[in-house]
């Protein structure tokens, strides 16, 4: 009896020892030298490996952060939904300037009202596919198709399609500015912009670079490239990209002057105190309407 006990103890003990040695040797042999920063960055993350960031787990995100810091000197587009990425930025030795909170901005306001449907689409709910078939129900070839590729791709549940307008709406509380939606959109309508001071930002809510006449045909709020805003801007923050005005967020001081001069109401200012529109002259009231609408949806 004691013999059996002894033998099994011995066998298992030796087996354990041998395996331990093998494990040790293998671990040494296949050891991967890693940047210690990855560990540090990983420590800042929740460690839940939820995959919400779009990576396989927290460590993968940390690795991506370290890699991008080395390559580009920032961690733009990398974000964890549950952590302040500022901490990670600090660990990686990035200054606050290099880590600027960003948000996705939908640069199209061609809603069912502003760009009424001329045709009717039937088929797979994929923007990327519909994009190959036609310009869009409203006829604008740069406008939102409204089938929600961005919504499906968002890891943070920060986007939804507004049933009234048929356009995607960004939830500012949930959006981390990771940029997946911007990369997904087949028409490049979504742009990742800095959130701006006090979350105030001014942008052109249109992506159509076509000639003005064509834009007017299909949409009541599209940018026609009249360049009024360009002349108005005191900071030279507005440039023309084809027939489309573009506000450079780096130069824009969010003064809001361009908003007032735009004859089409294409320039949107978000999170400004609601006083402003009331001060304006009645002449520019009409184009202001969509702006107020958007503010409501965003701040609500």
């Amino acid at each position: 009896m004691s013999n059996i006990l002894l033998i099994s103890l011995l066998v298992l003990g030796i087996l354990g020892a041998v395996l331990a040695v093998i494990l040790y040797i293998v671990a040494q042999k296949f050891k991967v030298e890693e940047n210690p920063l990855i560990d540090e960055a990983e420590a800042c993350l929740p460690g839940a490996n939820c995959g919400g960031c779009g990576f396989a787990g927290c460590r993968a995100l940390a690795e991506a952060c370290v890699k991008q810091t080395a390559e580009k000197g920032n961690i733009d587009g990398l974000a964890c939904p549950g952590t302040d990425m500022g901490k990670v930025a600090a660990v990686l030795g990035l200054t606050a300037a290099a880590f600027e909170p960003k948000i996705a901005v939908v640069r199209c306001n061609g809603s069912c009202q502003n760009s009424p449907a001329k045709v009717h689409y039937e088929g797979a709910d994929i923007c990327a596919f519909a994009n190959t078939l036609y310009a869009g129900e409203g006829g604008c070839s740069k406008g939102c198709l409204g089938l929600g590729d961005c919504v499906k791709k968002c890891n943070f549940n920060a986007l939804h399609i507004d049933k009234e307008t048929g356009l995607p709406v960004v939830d500012p509380d949930k959006c981390v500015g990771c940029g997946v939606c911007a990369r997904t959109c087949p028409r490049g309508i979504i742009e990742i912009r800095p959130r701006g001071k006090k979350d105030r930002r001014v942008y052109v809510c249109c992506s159509n670079t076509d000639k003005g006449a064509l834009v007017v045909k299909n949409c009541s709020v599209g940018c026609i490239g009249c360049q009024k805003c360009l002349k108005e801007c005191p900071f030279e923050a507005i440039e023309m990209k084809g027939n489309l005005a573009y506000i450079d967020p780096a130069k824009c001081k969010a003064c809001g002057k361009c908003v007032e001069v735009c004859p089409r109401g294409s320039i949107h200012a978000v999170n400004f105190p609601p006083k402003k529109p009331k001060v304006e002259t009645p002449a520019t009231e009409a184009p202001e309407a969509p702006k107020v609408e958007l503010e409501k949806t965003v701040t609500a």
Binding site: K118, V119, Y121, E122, G123, L133, E137
Partner: protein
């Protein structure tokens, strides 16, 4: 101005749809139902109506209140499950058991997986097997066929064992003594058993219609029947005193019903012909094994359910040959 539709090609579609397929199967089951009414009277009709109604109601309730999705109650698939379920149980089964079975068939067998097309197992068989293990006595007390013109429409049926039951319990000699080896009676349905399965002729009539309409593929039922025939045939050749002739195995029990109407369920059977043949052979072998050496007298239901579980694997293993690819990549 009316709006034009923008859609990807093709712009024409065949007139086939899921509903038509389901209704065709229902139509194909009609002759068998009529024969069942002839032999089992009011009980058969009552049971069918109850299971169909319960199945449809269950599906409707789940879609309306649990899934809150689109209602597809009139696509005929729930009704089909109801009919097949009824066909697989004794005609004199208490109504409440049939209701429980139907709820399980639709609720657990189908809707729990997400509804039509997503269930891995044939819902009617799930319901049937559930009842078989829950109410073994009621589910194996088979009424004897008694033509309504002789016995009357509302008469309580006399119960008695099925041929396969006799074979299992008492062996082949008894079977011969009770006279259940009259082949013609067996084919016409004048025997004990679940009321949908008894008449092979009516079932085959329906099956021919389905095959002609290309609703079902002959591959599955043919391979099942051939396998059963060959397998039992070998046993018969080895020891004719113990085993019965293979042609009896074909018409006994629910083999015909199972082979043509249950194993061919599109959702739970393989897609390619090769896959279908393998699937059928599997069902055939398992059925015979259960019939000859298993605890139950009949094994078609179990065989189909077991092979249903293998369907995804079979689908993976037997892919169609891609045009222009010499060696199909095995993956």
């Amino acid at each position: 101005m009316n709006k034009y539709t923008i859609s990807g090609s093709p712009h024409v579609h065949s007139t086939e749809n899921t509903r038509k397929i389901m209704y065709r199967v229902l139509l194909a089951l009609l002759p068998a139902l009529l024969v069942a009414i002839y032999y089992f009277g009011w009980y058969a009709l009552r049971l069918t109506l109850v299971t169909v109604a319960t199945c449809m109601l269950t599906e409707w309730l789940i879609q309306k209140f649990l899934i809150k999705g689109p209602l597809t109650i009139n696509d005929g698939s729930a009704a089909l499950t109801g009919v097949l379920l009824a066909f697989n149980v004794p005609a004199n089964l208490p109504i409440w058991m049939a209701i429980v079975g139907s709820v399980v068939a639709i609720g657990i067998g189908k809707m729990a997986f997400g509804g039509l097309g997503k269930n891995p197992f044939n819902p009617a068989l799930v319901g049937r097997v559930f009842m078989l293990v829950s109410f073994p006595t009621a589910m194996t007390t088979w009424p004897k066929a008694a033509p309504i013109f002789e016995a009357g429409f509302f008469t309580d049926a006399v119960t008695g064992p099925t041929p396969l039951g006799i074979l299992k319990e008492s062996g082949r000699q008894t079977l011969e003594q009770v006279g259940d080896m009259q082949f013609l009676d067996m084919v016409l349905g004048n025997r004990g058993g679940a009321f949908g399965e008894v008449c092979a002729i009516a079932l085959i009539l329906g099956a021919i219609y389905l095959i002609a309409r290309k609703v079902i593929d002959i591959a599955t039922p043919l391979s099942i029947l051939l396998t059963v025939f060959v397998f039992t045939g070998i046993c018969y050749l080895i020891d004719p005193t113990q085993y019965i002739a293979p042609w009896y195995h074909l018409v006994y029990g629910g083999l015909i019903l199972g082979a043509f109407f249950m194993a061919t369920d599109m959702v739970t059977s393989p897609m390619t012909t090769k896959g279908k043949i393998l699937f059928g052979v599997g069902i055939g072998i398992i059925t015979v094994v259960i019939r000859l050496w298993g605890a139950y007298p009949e094994g078609v239901s179990f065989a189909i359910l077991i092979m249903n579980a293998f369907t995804p694997l079979i689908n993976k293993a037997f892919k169609p040959q891609v045009f222009g690819v010499v060696k199909p990549s095995k993956k």
